[in-house]
Symmetry: C2
Subunit: 359 residues, 2 copies
């Protein structure tokens, strides 16, 4: 198949609108209209143009088009680390749904730093992307200056999975409060009393605060005594970070009945710490994570956790972004801004009541 026209005898050049216009004895404008399926143009000429374009293997130059329309047809995806499989999955899904709507996706990685995240965003703004989906860093919410700039320039932002203060309307989020409530309630109902909650060092950020609310509410509703000192902040919300924290805590304090963590990633670190401390899971300590991130990998080693509907979150993020990019974009169905959590019980937690009764 011929892909480009040979000029002179040297290099390849991509086929342009002009080439089609010349060949069909039409003006570039008409060809452009036809290519873009504007109805103004005569049905017959439109067909001729489209056919010719196909034959010549014409591909519109997105740079030229972007320059003329001020639309890059590209969205940005900023995340802290795609090596985290949950984020990787999100990227995959965001990419899929964006592509379906004709958008490409550019990635930037904040490596968990708010400063870096700001730079990534600024960079995307400079690049004139049409919109940006941000999977924010788990760190305190002083959105960097770039966020203000985005607002000023009218470049739509959508927050995925959490948000910064002031962006409550621009996010798709799971119902963390409910998710952790379900977990905690389940543990309390199954006879656990002392449940540690391991979160990030920044307990005021939404992703952390909302969960802690669920944790506290479950205790309150169940009428079980709880100590604020059971909530611990971890320097880094990673497996390593949680491992080190848990290791220390298990030495310093009395063994809890259960440990909950902010995410599965951390839970695997905690699991290791528990084992090294000589305790068994779930006999001595029950353990539950959040995200259901690695279960396909780990089979029966997988954790009790709360599943997030990643597919739904990704799809709604893209849809929300599109409504902002293109004000007359019509949603087929209403947007779901808060997704439902689902408690997944596996064998890192056990029913302490049954055993007591059994004994």
């Amino acid at each position: 198949m011929r892909v480009a026209i040979r000029t002179g005898n040297k290099n390849m050049r991509n086929v342009t609108l002009k080439d089609i216009a010349r060949k069909l004895q039409l003006s570039e404008a008409t060809v452009s209209l036809a290519i873009n399926n504007k109805t103004i143009v005569n049905e017959d000429t439109r067909k001729r143009v489209l056919e010719c374009a196909r034959d010549m293997n014409y591909k519109p130059n997105p740079l030229a088009r972007g320059l003329a329309t001020s639309k890059s047809m590209t969205i940005g995806f900023i995340c802290s680390d795609p090596e985290n499989p949950f984020i990787g999955r999100m990227l995959k899904l965001v990419s899929r749904y964006s592509n379906q709507q004709g958008y490409s996706v550019m990635v930037a990685i904040s490596e968990g730093s708010v400063v870096q995240e700001g730079k990534c965003l600024q960079n995307f703004l400079d690049k004139r992307l049409d919109g940006v989906i941000i999977f924010p860093v788990d760190a305190p919410g002083n959105p960097s200056e770039a966020f203000v700039t985005a607002k000023e320039q009218g470049i739509p932002l959508v927050f995925c999975d959490t948000y910064y203060p002031g962006y409550e309307q621009d996010c798709i989020i799971a119902d963390y409060t409910k998710g952790v409530y379900l977990q905690t309630e389940y543990l309390l109902k199954t006879g656990h009393r002392s449940i540690w909650y391991l979160t990030t060092q920044y307990q005021e950020i939404p992703v952390s605060r909302l969960r802690i609310n669920g944790y506290k509410k479950a205790y309150a509703d169940m009428g079980t005594a709880r100590q604020d000192s059971w909530i611990f902040g971890c320097e880094k919300a990673t497996g390593q970070g949680a491992y080190q924290l848990a290791k220390r805590l298990l030495q310093e304090y009395e063994r809890p009945d259960a440990i909950l963590t902010l995410n599965d990633y951390m839970a695997y670190g905690v699991r290791q710490a528990i084992r090294e401390a000589g305790y068994r899971i779930p006999e001595d300590i029950s353990l539950a994570g959040y995200d259901d991130a690695f279960s396909e990998l780990l089979y029966e080693n997988a954790l009790t956790t709360v599943r997030q509907d990643a597919d739904l979150i990704a799809r709604e993020c893209v849809r929300l972004l599109l409504t902002k990019i293109n004000p007359d974009y019509r949603l087929e169905e209403p947007l779901i801004r808060v997704t439902e959590p689902e408690l997944v019980i596996r064998n890192t937690t056990r029913n302490r009541r049954e055993e007591r009764q059994g004994a």
Copy 2:
């Protein structure tokens, strides 16, 4: 900080070269030269321009620049699935090294399908990206038509971690043969006799073939008897795929001393199958994977495996691509096309000899 100039009183408009030129009473061309740090321009005016650009918060429009130069300063990254942490890591690193060189990275996901991979590539070609890094699908190597198109259009391709036939010069790859050789040799030396090798159904593709070579060579060098029937092809190179295959094999055949898999992902599936079959690891069957993909997550549950230097591979991929994009790009250090594997021994394998001697 003022980010754009207000026209009339309505919308924001981005600052352009023309604005700077007008303000400084210079021509656009001069400003352009100054911005691009061409030495032709007077040192003093250059400084004035740069200062003014900073003050006005000028950001070159990449679309306009791209249109004028035919360079998008963007590279594509095509992979099968970023949810695989090894791929996620690769993406992160490729992104980092690309950004360092001023390139953005656009992602596309082939979802493990050669057809989809071809579409992704074609799409990137249509978008006029400057080059593409491909983390190919583990499937037979009939590069789709898009690969030919890329060659015709002179758009550089670099293959990451494996390659298609005919692209031996365009890839950065780990020394798989050596890696598997080390594994197999180690197992043989520690008293294992029958070692199954679980690879993909496409045993002729490089990523598979090179490893099988290492496996066979180790047997040959050690002078141990081997059966070709110990090599099995798995329909999908995933945890699930390997799980199902191993489950079946362990029912049908006599228990092997050890099982090797193409990657860690598969190994975790096999681990599950082994357990379900009632065998212990490593007492009954030793197990080893490849990639060292999840060890940070799994701690003492991690596998004996072969570590790949992901950082090096990513860096070299970007460097190789840059030499192709920009023929006078100077490599500071020579390119490393084949990276060294490193055997990592953990406790999913054991020394059968010692035990025998001990007994």
